[in-house]
Symmetry: C2
Subunit: 337 residues, 2 copies
């Protein structure tokens, strides 16, 4: 089976499990609260899939479990919990960033107001917790406890990354080291947990799990840096965002921080308020000339290279799932959207 085959098989399975989980909760007097959650998960009112995310994190957990033990079912509660948690963070993120749209649809707070959106996020957080605790049924109580504790350590790490992200907005400049620290919390920590918990559910040892986390962390860092790359040099026809959108929205992403640190000409351009749609192409060009593009690509490749290296150590004898993991690692970092 190729990565594509596994995707066609497992993503619908993840999707069905997520839906069954939400439907199992008693929302009696609060059906509208349930609707907010299903809306965020990307399901239309009649339950059909309606353009949520790619379920990449739970898919990663299942692949890692499968690569360890040739079966995936025992990791399903953790995989689902991660997707619920991810969506909880998106709900609160969108309020914090004042984002009106996600996946082309109004965000939860735009549709139901800030107060109800905060609350729906909290409900989804509680659901994520109950979901991961079901590892007690598919593994054992000891593994379940470990996984739940680590899950919440990651949640705390996420809020630390988010704290920095919000704080950065009101700063003139941010040094690159602090920025990498922030994305480690905001993006890499949950992806590292996704790979880690697959192995944990499969009963792997501490040393092996540390390596799995390290693999996931590299994957997460490279993923975010690639995102930052696409935010300046991505093809708008492919990404679905406007050209150099991170410049337009003045997002302090990695290439932009590099430019602010190393390129006086870019610093001058950045000072000009507002940055117009016509002007961003020139700014992207300045960034490229001063070495920001090369720097970002090199950085992403560093993490990617390390991810492949660890993958080789983890699964020298590769089964179907491990082969798919390698392919997925390649695809994630060579994507153009």
């Amino acid at each position: 089976m190729t990565l594509n085959d596994l995707q066609s098989q497992l993503i619908p399975q993840i999707e069905a499990s997520l839906k069954a989980k939400i439907n199992a909760f008693d929302f009696n007097h609060t059906n509208q609260l349930k609707r907010m959650i299903t809306y965020q998960m990307g399901w239309s009112a009649d339950g059909a899939h309606d353009g949520g995310g790619k379920r990449i994190r739970p898919f990663l957990s299942l692949l890692c479990a499968g690569a360890c033990k040739d079966q995936i079912e025992m990791a399903m509660p953790a995989a689902m919990a991660i997707e619920f948690l991810h969506n909880f963070t998106l709900i609160h993120d969108d309020i914090q960033d004042k984002s009106p749209l996600r996946h082309g649809k109004p965000t939860l707070w735009k549709k139901w107001g800030i107060a109800q959106a905060i609350n729906a996020g909290d409900a989804l957080f509680a659901i994520a917790q109950m979901t991961i605790l079901k590892l007690a049924d598919t593994t054992n109580e000891h593994i379940c406890n470990l996984a739940a504790s680590e899950f919440n350590q990651v949640c705390l790490h996420l809020t630390q990354g988010q704290y920095l992200d919000i704080a950065f907005e009101s700063l003139d400049n941010v040094d690159i080291k602090t920025y990498l620290n922030m994305i480690e919390g905001k993006t890499a920590a949950l992806i590292a947990f996704s790979t880690h918990v697959g192995g944990l559910a499969a009963g792997q040892t501490k040393d092996f799990l540390d390596l799995l986390s390290a693999y996931g962390k590299c994957l997460g860092m490279a993923f975010q840096i690639q995102d930052d790359f696409l935010g300046v040099w991505g093809d708008p026809l492919v990404t679905g965002k406007s050209t150099a959108s991170d410049l337009l929205t003045r997002k302090k992403s990695l290439p932009i921080l590099y430019g602010l640190e190393n390129c006086p000409e870019f610093q001058d351009q950045w000072q000009k308020v507002p940055i117009t749609a016509e002007y961003v192409l020139e700014m992207a060009k300045t960034l490229e000339i001063c070495g920001a593009k090369k720097y970002v690509v090199t950085k992403a490749k560093e993490y990617t290279g390390r991810a492949f290296e660890i993958l080789g150590q983890l699964f020298p004898k590769r089964n179907t799932y491990a082969v798919a993991l390698k392919e997925l690692t390649h695809d994630l970092l060579n994507r153009n959207a």
Copy 2:
């Protein structure tokens, strides 16, 4: 030992444990996030207690554990988790209600902005989760898993109560049954869990735990109804709130809903916008004449009576903790602030 003695002994112990827990987390690059949490917990920057809450919920958990087993330490992780969770809900509540003050100090969102306050609440939620999972050390992994699952069931229940509370604001009227449903989620569920988990940590059976929950639920309902009473007829010098503050802020509390349902004169008064400080005394009088005061007192007494009844069933042979529980039940429902 009397209730007072136990309070002087256990509340400082709870307080010290809460502080030690927060200090044990690594906040390295995000000290300000830690400061938000300690601020919410009522601690000044140098760690002194600075007017947080009364820690009534964790105190209840410890008393229930003690009443079951004559010792309290094994329930401490759950007691702490409940206080963290309670404070997490207060952070988000204050944003949702746009409340500028709590315990006479600016609320978290007033001081640090909505985005950071949502995030600090989320961090405290994760901390609450990690804290309850420490029951594995003081009891065993099975009890720990059960407690953590029930804890999150309660979290979901809280968000359902909160959903209704927010939704009620934009409704002209709410029937009393739906209102009682709302406060069951918003207030009683966490108090019921506080009493329940004390017995769970002490290794009690399912039937006994159900009774403990029922006791806590009655306590929580009576507590909230007494709050509603004080919101209309409380002495402002004692409560620290303005006279008939719930009328002033148009809060749809139990006496007011009774008036809207049963008293045409009160309905007319309620229509007048704005309700002035001079006018509220007249309105409170109208409510009293039409039977709202009597109704609310009767309702509170119903729940209180049931609480005492269950307490007698639970602990026919009373130790120090059980005696204190009885005294506390009496005090909570006969308080005037």
